[in-house]
């Protein structure tokens, strides 16, 4: 009597968890924007045997954004998940993997991320501040003022803006803009930049030094600007395939799609 087919994998089985971990590491390792994502739930898994010790695995993952910028060297396990009240960003990914002799490799992935709805947040937390659009004028002013302030005081290299990661504006009780943005060190010192900022270029990849800044601009009851930047030091650049990065944007692994 032919052996009964193996029971379908459960989403919480150790093998499913291992596949999800390989998929999330791939997604974070191939993204250049935003923040790292972590698994919130394995929504579905389907295994298509190809032969002995050779399976194609289709995974549906529900992810949540963490507070670690994508360029941060912090291990994902140490990255705090952004809470619901902090205006969480969730991602959904369909990933196709192959498992040969116990080793996973990602063949294709398609991801989409979006911030949670403002209505849902305000329902649970009426006084929470919400995510602002990244091209909001106040956000842009805050980032520009904060970076200028930092560069005017630093004795290290002049920093250039890479991207704004996220921003929130509170209007009550005070008027406060909080912005997080990624920066890159340039080939100028801050002093040289004062003379000729146009000559200051981001360091080449083999010397790149990225960092991350948080700026808090208080407009009311009184004006105040705080900015804190941390540089990571030189990191080995990740391969170039942007994936899960901006809320609301879907990326496909070039050339392949989940069939």
């Amino acid at each position: 009597v032919p052996a009964a087919p193996p029971a379908p994998l459960g989403c919480d089985d150790p093998e499913s968890e291992a596949a999800a971990e390989a998929a999330v590491n791939y997604i974070n390792g191939h993204s250049h924007h935003g923040y790292k994502f972590t698994t919130n739930r394995i929504a579905a898994i389907r295994v298509v045997p190809q032969g002995p010790n050779n399976d194609i695995i289709f995974l549906e993952l529900d992810l949540l954004e963490t507070k670690c910028p994508i360029l941060s060297p912090t291990p994902l396990a140490n990255c705090t998940v952004r809470s619901f009240a902090e205006h969480a960003v969730e991602g959904e990914c369909d990933v196709k993997l192959q498992k040969v002799d116990g080793t996973f490799s990602v063949l294709a992935s398609k991801c989409h991320s979006h911030a949670d709805s403002s209505e849902d947040i305000l329902k649970v937390c009426p006084e929470c501040s919400l995510l602002a659009s990244l091209n909001n004028t106040e956000v842009l002013e805050t980032v520009s003022a904060a970076l200028n302030d930092y560069n005017s005081k630093t004795t290290d290299s002049y920093l250039r803006l890479l991207e704004i990661g996220r921003a929130k504006i509170q209007y009550h009780p005070g008027h406060i803009v909080v912005a997080e943005f990624a920066v890159g060190a340039t080939n100028c010192s801050a002093k040289e930049a004062k003379a000729n900022v146009g000559a200051c270029q981001l360091l080449p990849k083999d010397q790149s030094n990225f960092g991350f800044c948080t700026a808090v601009m208080v407009k009311r009851p009184s004006q105040d600007l705080q900015v804190d930047c941390q540089l990571y030091g030189h990191q080995v650049p990740a391969p170039d395939t942007p994936l899960l990065s901006r809320p609301g944007v879907t990326y496909m692994h070039p050339g392949q799609d989940i069939s």
């Binding site: 989403c11 394995i42 529900d62 619901f84 969730e90 949670d116 849902d120």
Partner: protein, 38 residues
């Protein structure tokens, strides 16, 4: 004339009695939520 013969009720072999406290296994998917459900 046709008479209906009384046939004894078939013993309920097809319904295996479940042991007391039987808990069906959780559905295989979707999996558990690790942080919070949005």
């Amino acid at each position: 004339s046709v008479t209906k013969s009384a046939v004894a009720e078939a013993p309920q072999h097809d319904k295996v009695p479940r042991p007391v406290g039987f808990v069906p296994p959780p559905p295989p998917c979707p999996g558990k939520i690790r942080h919070f459900d949005i």
